[in-house]
């Protein structure tokens, strides 16, 4: 049968955004693939150069609108490293709590989109229902459901509200009950779901590292790398948690990626509960940053999708001279031809859904 190219995108239910995956098929088998990106390029790195350090947080929020806080936090951390200031302890704990709540919300959004990808519409409804719990918590904390503008250079915008701890516990308890009883049943214990995900989209450890795949996608290959533990930032060093790594052999397929993300939901809940217990009850949560700064600073953090890196250079003005954003999805996208080759056309959705693509941060 002759080989030919098929466009999956830019308008396709699988893409979850605006990008184009060209696949070359021989019958049903994929022989080559070529991602085309850039539809959503907004020139972030350039427009950040004319805005003051703090004003850029509004922009970094919109890099990935389903995990705004993690991106703004990475940016603030890089600027703090450049200025040589450090957040007060309570501010760091508040950041950890906000980051983990955001991670849960982001993973639930991914779950909500991965379900319908495989024909599991219940997954969409349930995951979005539970995501609302965490968005409510974030709203309680920062005032907004999305695009919160919450992290500040030198701390966070405001202290936690009064009854936050009790609210948090109640929501997490409710969520974990659903997680153990309902989510496990429709996803992991469903035979159809496992048939669609197991054994497709495999990648070896060497290739995954060489291609620069990070985060849950790399841990699904059995590599125990979590920047929260490997290069601890904020107060992650004081928290006792276990990065979710796939250990069961036959690693690197869609199912392993699913399990790593899925288990991270529970782990993040534990981190939030632990942080609420360990954090000092009072104290400053923010320091005043200098207006102008010179030098360079970089920060790498464990974003919901992998390693987020900000590299900021200041030339003594109140604006950055150069900002570089390293998006984990951008690097994973480079590896998608390797993931897809040899699989069936129908599995493209199952593979690309499991790597969790967010176009906003990919195209910058």
């Amino acid at each position: 049968m002759p080989e030919f190219w098929i466009n999956m995108g830019p308008q396709h239910p699988m893409t979850h955004g605006l990008w184009n995956m060209k696949v070359k098929v021989d019958g049903e088998t994929i022989v080559d693939a070529k991602p085309e990106i850039g539809y959503l390029h907004r020139g972030y790195e350039k427009i950040m150069e004319v805005r003051e350090f703090q004003k850029n947080v509004v922009l970094t929020d919109r890099l990935c609108y389903v995990s705004s806080i993690t991106w703004s936090h990475a940016y603030c951390l890089a600027v703090e490293k450049m200025m040589g200031i450090e957040t007060p302890e309570r501010g760091q704990w508040i950041r950890v709590i906000s980051l983990e709540l955001q991670r849960i919300a982001s993973h639930l959004m991914w779950l909500a989109s991965y379900g319908p990808d495989l024909g599991l519409l219940t997954g969409l409804l349930w995951a979005l229902r539970e995501r609302e719990l965490f968005l409510d918590l974030i709203q309680l904390m920062s005032g907004a459901r999305m695009n919160q503008n919450f992290p500040r250079v030198g701390g966070v915008r405001n202290d936690l509200p009064e009854n936050f701890e009790a609210m948090c516990r109640r929501s997490i308890e409710h969520f974990l009950e659903k997680y153990e009883n309902e989510y496990q049943a429709i996803f992991q214990e469903s035979k159809v779901f496992r048939m669609r995900t197991e054994g497709v989209g495999k990648i070896t450890v060497e290739e995954a590292i060489n291609w620069g795949i990070t985060g849950p996608n790399l841990r699904a290959c059995g590599v125990d790398v979590d920047l929260r533990r490997l290069d601890p930032y904020e107060t992650y060093g004081e928290i006792d948690f276990e990065p979710q790594v796939w250990h069961d052999g036959g690693a690197g397929d869609s199912y392993a990626r699913f399990v790593c993300r899925f288990n991270e939901l529970r782990e993040s809940c534990q981190i939030v509960l632990q942080a609420l217990k360990k954090m000092p009850k009072t104290g400053p949560y923010r320091v005043k940053p200098p207006r102008r700064a010179e030098g360079e600073g970089y920060a790498k953090t464990e974003d919901s999708r992998g390693e987020a890196l900000f590299y900021v250079i200041g030339d003594g003005d109140d604006r950055p001279y150069r900002v570089k954003i390293r998006s984990p999805v951008f690097c994973t996208m480079a590896a998608t031809p390797t993931l897809l080759r040899g699989n069936k056309l129908a599995d493209v959705v199952s593979i690309l859904g499991s790597v969790d693509v967010c176009v906003g941060e990919m195209d910058k």
Binding site: I37, G38, E52, N210, V245, Y311, R322, M333, A334
Partner: protein, 178 residues
């Protein structure tokens, strides 16, 4: 140095304290005269400045001898009188990061490509070429990635002007003053 010379252990996912000094010593021993500047900036971060001609040697040493397997990021910076291509290379075994600043003259923005060592360099170099116009020699497919193919400029260069060079509205003006 003894810990570095032995075959590398499996990834434990935990940082090794004091590793930045070992890495710095290893780099200094191997490339004494070629390093224009080398320092351990903070915990788990080493920064070196090299000339563009030594890039492949340094990176090969980092990857094959010191176990820096993960190329995290490539940044191109326009310093007005010269360019800089900055590589963030990470070691999963001990959590150390090396920042390699390779200097490039302004009138000849070319540097060797790292795609032979890391596949990850592919997209990063295409992006740097697209936005900054630094040419990575030896790259198999150096075409624009984010901007349209017929775009004529490299917008991250400082000579590419924005509408305003400072987005700033004074409070007095907002209140109706001059």
């Amino acid at each position: 140095m003894s810990a570095l010379a032995k075959p590398l252990p499996h990834i434990t996912g935990r940082p090794v304290p004091g590793v930045e000094k070992e890495v710095l010593a290893g780099l200094k021993a191997a490339f004494a005269s070629k390093l224009k500047d080398a320092k351990a900036v903070r915990e788990r971060l080493v920064e070196i400045v090299i000339d563009r001609a030594d890039l492949i040697d340094v990176c090969t040493y980092l990857k094959n001898t010191l176990g820096f397997e993960h190329l995290s990021c490539i940044t191109a910076v326009d310093w007005k009188d010269h360019f800089e291509s900055i590589y963030h290379i990470e070691n999963y075994y001990n959590g150390c990061m090396v920042q390699v600043n390779a200097q490039i003259p302004y009138d000849d923005p070319k540097i060797a490509s790292l795609t032979g060592l890391w596949h990850a360099a592919d997209y990063h170099e295409r992006e740097a070429w697209d936005l900054m116009g630094v040419e990575y020699e030896g790259h198999p497919n150096l075409v624009r990635i984010l901007l349209p193919e017929d775009f004529k400029f490299h917008p991250l260069r400082k000579e590419f002007a924005q509408e305003v060079d400072r987005q700033y509205i004074s409070r007095r003006k907002l209140r109706g003053g001059k």
